[in-house]
């Protein structure tokens, strides 16, 4: 790859290395994390990555906030599960491994159908339309029992016929590798999209939809076509889901799932391509593991989300990139100390607040288990005033210390950023 091509956006050696490492990690992961729980989670991560990346095509690349993305992945799941049943019944001769593509076509179809009305508007109205269509489809799913299977959903079997070269997709590990291939291909596809004329114009529409019209582009058409492509990939994720879980229920088109896409994509970072990948991994970890640790996990999640929107709207990806930049300019050492302080004060604050939340939940849900509960290795009696006062005191001290530290950190961070920007300007004028 010569230097001039790199200037125009082609991939350089460094990009290829990053991709290579990512692919190796994906393929080698099951060899390191061998428990069945790990492999289940890895499979789910693959599905989530494709779904969140397709969601970010709309949010991060196009500035379109959708509250109903699960409609496309969910309908993809349903069409795929019906296809799987047909394969099993012998009426649809297609290899099971191509099932996600069926989901993709379904997602594409529904995006063509709903997308026309949806992309007529932008901004807040767009978001409301996606919400309306999401509710429409979810409500319809409870009505049309043949297609959606009512309460029980539709299930099928992914093991069909004789194994080919030893692969029957019965064992989870085989499914994982198939899903991994789809994840890699879809990620590459969506990354490639960002480097095409339409992908770039979608960014332009995000930044200044009005100006786009004055350089010859129909803004609505740009949004509509991009919406359809995003719907395709969402459908593929849905097909992957159907293959993995062998069942599709109404909740796959529900508002809760759409909300999860939004929450975690934003948490991971909507402004960078790899942000949703981080978000997708977090999503699976949260749903599978966090929910086991505490009943209040959704509350914690909501609070973290609120804090992120206020203080780090670019998500975890932007935090990583900002610190990478600080490191490149050799100033990381100066902020590390502050990070440690923030972590400590934040932990104190968290412990106090979490103690109160957990105690409240304990009162409500675990009546039968008595008033004593374990919190971080300490026994707390929810009926005793001491426990409550203690928690409140710890929380207040923590909040106070954290806010104090945060303000000092913000000043310091601002200084560092100023120095970096001055260095950049000096470089440019040289």
């Amino acid at each position: 790859m010569n230097a001039s091509a790199k200037k125009y956006g082609a991939m350089g050696a460094r990009d290829l290395i990053i991709w290579g490492i990512a692919i190796v990690v994906m393929l080698a992961a099951p060899l390191i994390f061998t428990s069945s729980l790990a492999i289940t989670m890895l499979s789910q991560m693959g599905i989530a990555i494709v779904a969140c990346l397709s969601f970010n095509m709309l949010l991060g690349q196009g500035g379109m906030l959708s509250f109903g993305h699960a409609v496309y992945s969910g309908l993809g799941s349903f069409v795929a599960i019906h296809a799987l049943k047909a394969i099993g019944g012998g009426s649809f001769p297609m290899p099971v491994s191509l099932l996600p593509l069926v989901g993709g076509v379904a997602g594409l179809f529904f995006a063509v159908l709903f997308g026309f009305v949806t992309t007529k508007k932008s901004g807040t109205t767009f978001a409301m339309i996606t919400l309306g269509i999401s509710e429409l489809v979810f409500a319809a799913s409870l009505m049309m029992a043949e297609f959606f299977g009512g309460e029980a959903g539709i299930s099928a079997n992914r093991v069909v016929g004789k194994p080919v070269m030893g692969i029957s997709f019965g064992p989870q590990i085989q499914v994982y590798y198939l899903l991994a291939i789809y994840t890699i291909v879809c990620t590459a596809g969506m990354y490639a999209f960002t480097r095409t004329p339409l992908g770039r114009m979608l960014n332009a529409v995000r930044d200044n939809p009005e100006r786009v019209e004055f350089i010859g582009y129909n803004t609505q058409r740009v949004r509509y076509i991009s919406f359809i492509i995003a719907g395709f990939f969402a459908g593929v994720a849905g097909g992957m889901y159907a293959l993995n879980f062998e069942i599709a229920t109404a909740e796959v088109v529900g508002a809760a799932r759409s909300g999860a896409y939004l929450l975690f994509t934003f948490l991971g970072g909507a402004t960078f391509f790899f942000g949703p990948i981080i978000g997708a991994v977090l999503m699976v970890v949260a749903f599978v593991m966090l929910s086991e640790i505490t009943k209040a996990w959704l509350l914690y999640l909501g609070l973290v989300f609120l804090l992120m929107v206020m203080y780090a709207p670019g998500g975890i990806a932007s935090l990583i990139m900002m610190n990478l930049r600080v490191w490149k300019f050799g100033k990381l050492g100066r902020v590390l100390g502050w990070y440690a302080l923030l972590a400590v004060t934040g932990a104190v604050m968290f412990i106090g607040i979490a103690a109160m939340i957990e105690m409240t939940y304990h009162i409500q849900l675990n009546e039968a288990l008595g008033p004593v509960m374990r919190f971080m290795g300490v026994e707390l009696n929810v009926k005793s005033a001491a426990a409550w006062i203690g928690a409140i005191v710890v929380a207040l001290i923590g909040i106070g210390l954290f806010e104090f530290t945060r303000r000092r950190f913000a000043l310091h961070w601002g200084e560092v950023q100023g120095e970096i920007e001055a260095a950049i300007r000096a470089r440019e004028s040289a």
Binding site: G9, N203, D207, Y217, N218
Partner: protein, 259 residues
């Protein structure tokens, strides 16, 4: 009869009960450089918005190279070869200077909504964008995000995006707004260079710029074109003097610019 590049015939525009453009008529020949002047509130920006398709006229006709364009959407007008810049820089903030310009050329080179080609491989688009970066003297800031440019650089990029598509008719809305004297002089040179051979309509307040850049001046007062002629004739026009040019300041500016 040779075609006019831009022709306005009895153009009217009302917002509710308020009529802003009250029967404006104008005929600009191809290659002419016209400055549109007038007091504040005369409707100059509205006129531009009508021509470029941002607003629909209440009545009247607009023709581009003989073809009627009134009522068309902005992107349709743009595709027919008319481009406009904005008084307040209207850029793609999170894209670099180069990317901004490349976006400007994409449609005119026929790439449309392609998602099966890579930008890196579009040699003509990349070359043209690179050429524009050089023409605008923005080489040092080629990869800087548009929102991080200085004001004058943003105005330059604004012009750049406008002419990137190779439009034959260019509308510039107060291109030198907010610039210092020296910046203005340099900017006018830039505009002259990049709009060679094109039909140019500029809204301007700085009389020095007007007399320096324009072949003809159109005077817009209360939504009507009260004069359209070469600068000397417009200066002598009694109606214009009465409405606009009769101020000491305008005289002084013109004298300073040496005309």
């Amino acid at each position: 009869m040779s075609q006019y590049a831009i022709e306005l015939r009895g153009l009217h525009k009302s917002f509710g009960k308020t009529e802003i453009i009250r029967g404006a008529s104008l005929a600009v020949a191809p290659g002419e450089r016209v400055a549109i002047i007038g007091p504040n509130g005369a409707g100059k920006s509205t006129l531009f918005n009508l021509i470029s398709g941002r607003l629909k006229p209440t009545s009247g006709e607009i023709a581009l190279n003989g073809r009627r364009i009134d009522g068309m959407a902005p992107y349709e007008v743009s595709r027919l070869g008319l481009a406009r810049s904005f008084q307040v820089s209207n850029l793609f903030g999170k894209l670099s200077v180069f990317e901004n310009l490349r976006c400007g050329v994409l449609w005119s080179l026929g790439y449309k909504y392609a998602f099966w080609k890579f930008l890196a491989g579009l040699a003509d688009a990349n070359e043209r964008a690179e050429q524009l970066v050089r023409d605008l003297n923005l080489e040092r800031k080629r990869d800087t995000l548009a929102m991080n440019l200085t004001y004058a650089e943003q105005r330059a990029l604004e012009i750049g995006i406008t002419i990137a598509g190779g439009a034959s008719v260019v509308l510039l809305d107060e291109p030198t707004a907010g610039m210092s004297k020296s910046e203005t002089a340099r900017f006018i040179e830039l505009i002259r260079e990049v709009t060679v051979g094109k039909t140019l309509l500029t809204v301007e307040h700085d009389m020095g710029v007007v007399f320096g850049l324009a072949d003809k001046i159109a005077v817009l007062v209360y939504g009507e074109v009260i004069a359209f002629d070469v600068p000397e004739a417009v200066r002598r026009n009694a109606k214009v003097q009465e409405a606009y040019l009769g101020s000491v300041l305008a005289d002084a500016q013109a004298a300073e610019a040496g005309h």
